[in-house]
């Protein structure tokens, strides 16, 4: 472990940049997102105050979401109406979450963060496309014009959307966690769309990625006016994660990521435990 007090600006910036680059690269490669490991990386290894770490992480989340959106859009999977409607829930949740960060003690936030890390590692292990069942279209989803189609291997596939209120509710929760912890909470967004609303997995993941940037922007304003976003720290984090994740998306197509996903999941669980322990010990 390094002590930030002994590092000069150049060394500190370079190390944080390198760490963020690796986090972004592995996050994109495994589909687990780089944001979740950034805050533990900064707080545990670089002894950064939790609030500065959350601020820098949130900024990098916006960068990765926006930076990779261009690649996803070309594939024609994302559903702009579903995304925009659910963004009402995620942005309101993000505002609530961002306000909560100032009210809740950092140690409690660290505990919530630890639980969130373990949950996202768990969900990534068991998330697989569910079996499709034909059901009559849902009335609310039809009214909101959410039913759509996307290019599949076997041609254009139509899909219907269900349980809109339940999805909306989970999205509010995802937004709150995003604002509270400075993460994208992509895993929870995918759960809301794929599991609750029965939206095809590919559409869920790409629409989620589209939504992450807007959700994060909703808490970023609050973070900025609170002084959580320090440019000298956010600079290497944002540049590192952005470059790393763009590299990760390039490599993604060519590599077998199964073993890597497992290793990265274990790393996430370990970081989650460390956050939990330090949080319970009140060391934040």
């Amino acid at each position: 472990m390094w002590h930030t007090g002994r590092l000069n600006v150049l060394e500190f910036t370079f190390l944080v940049w390198t760490g963020s680059l690796i986090a972004g690269f592995l996050g994109a490669l495994t589909g687990l997102g780089g944001g979740v490991v950034l805050v533990p990386l900064l707080t545990i290894f670089f002894h950064v105050d939790l609030r500065y770490a959350i601020g820098a992480s949130l900024v990098s989340v916006i960068a990765t979401s926006s930076g990779s959106a261009a690649a996803y859009v070309k594939e024609g999977f994302s559903n702009i109406r579903i995304g925009m409607f659910l963004e009402i829930a995620t942005t309101l949740g993000a505002l609530v979450g961002a306000y909560l960060t100032a009210r809740i003690s950092p140690s409690v936030i660290a505990v919530i963060f630890g639980l969130m890390l373990m949950y996202s590692a768990y969900i990534s292990r068991r998330m697989r496309p569910r079996a499709e069942t034909e059901q009559p279209p849902d009335r609310v989803a039809t009214k909101l014009r959410m039913n759509d189609s996307f290019p599949d291997t076997s041609g254009i596939r139509h899909y219907n959307v269900y349980h809109v209120p339940a999805g909306f509710g989970v999205m509010f929760g995802a937004g709150t966690l995003s604002g509270l912890l400075g993460i994208g909470s992509g895993a929870l967004k995918v759960v809301a769309m794929d599991q609750a609303m029965k939206i095809p997995f590919k559409v869920s993941t790409t629409t989620s990625n589209f939504m992450i940037g807007v959700t994060a922007a909703a808490s970023a304003g609050v973070y900025l006016s609170r002084g959580y976003i320090d440019p000298t720290l956010a600079m290497p984090v944002m540049l590192g994660v952005l470059i790393g994740s763009l590299m990760g998306t390039r490599v993604l197509v060519k590599t077998q990521t199964k073993r890597l996903r497992l290793v990265f999941s274990i790393v996430i669980v370990l970081l989650g435990m460390e956050m939990l322990l330090k949080g319970f010990a009140g060391r934040f």
Binding site: T4, G5, R6, N8, V9, L10, T13, F46, H47, D49, Y52, V59, I62, A63, S65, S66, G67, A69, A70, V73, K74, G76, S78, I80, R81, M84, F85, E87, I88, T91, L95, A98, Y99, T142, L144, R145, D148, S149, G213, V214, A217, A218, S219, A220, G221, V222, L224, S225, R226, G227, Y228, I229, D230, P231, T232, L233, M235, M238, L239, L242
Partner: protein, 140 residues
């Protein structure tokens, strides 16, 4: 051409065509925003690192940022007076603004489609985002 609110195959196809075009413009917009933000951040980072590379930094304790790095107005005016930290912060501000511009564009795009319901939804999202950036200091 007006797109009505039905979901027949013809309407659906038209909706898809508009949506695809909208998504393409949005993708360009996001890419451009991130690129611009990254360049401005680097533009501030180079002189910042060059001027005092041997200085020490400490992020262990939270002090909050000075006023000039906390508000849109403060950041812009400090950046234009040459403050290197404010230039980096201006880049980050551009990054935060990118999804907001994206949502603002969607209001326009849904309006062109004649989709009033989604213009309304998008305006709510835009309202929340603008409130966060410009009005949140009221309740801090």
């Amino acid at each position: 051409m007006t797109v009505n609110h039905g979901t027949g195959p013809q309407e659906r196809r038209t909706q898809n065509w508009y949506d695809e075009r909208m998504e393409n413009v949005i993708a360009q917009l996001l890419r451009g925003g991130v690129l611009a933000a990254g360049l401005v951040v680097i533009g501030g980072a180079v002189p910042y690192l060059g001027f005092h590379p041997r200085a020490h930094v400490d992020y262990r304790t939270f002090h909050g940022e000075p006023a000039q790095l906390k508000t849109v107005h403060g950041i812009v005016s400090a950046a234009f007076s040459g403050d290197t930290q404010a230039i980096m912060q201006l880049g980050l501000l551009l990054l935060i603004a990118t999804p907001i511009v994206r949502v603002a564009f969607s209001v326009f795009a849904f309006a062109v489609e004649g989709d009033r319901l989604y213009v309304f939804f998008t305006l709510i999202v835009l309202g929340v985002l603008l409130y966060s950036l410009f009005g949140s200091f009221l309740i801090v």
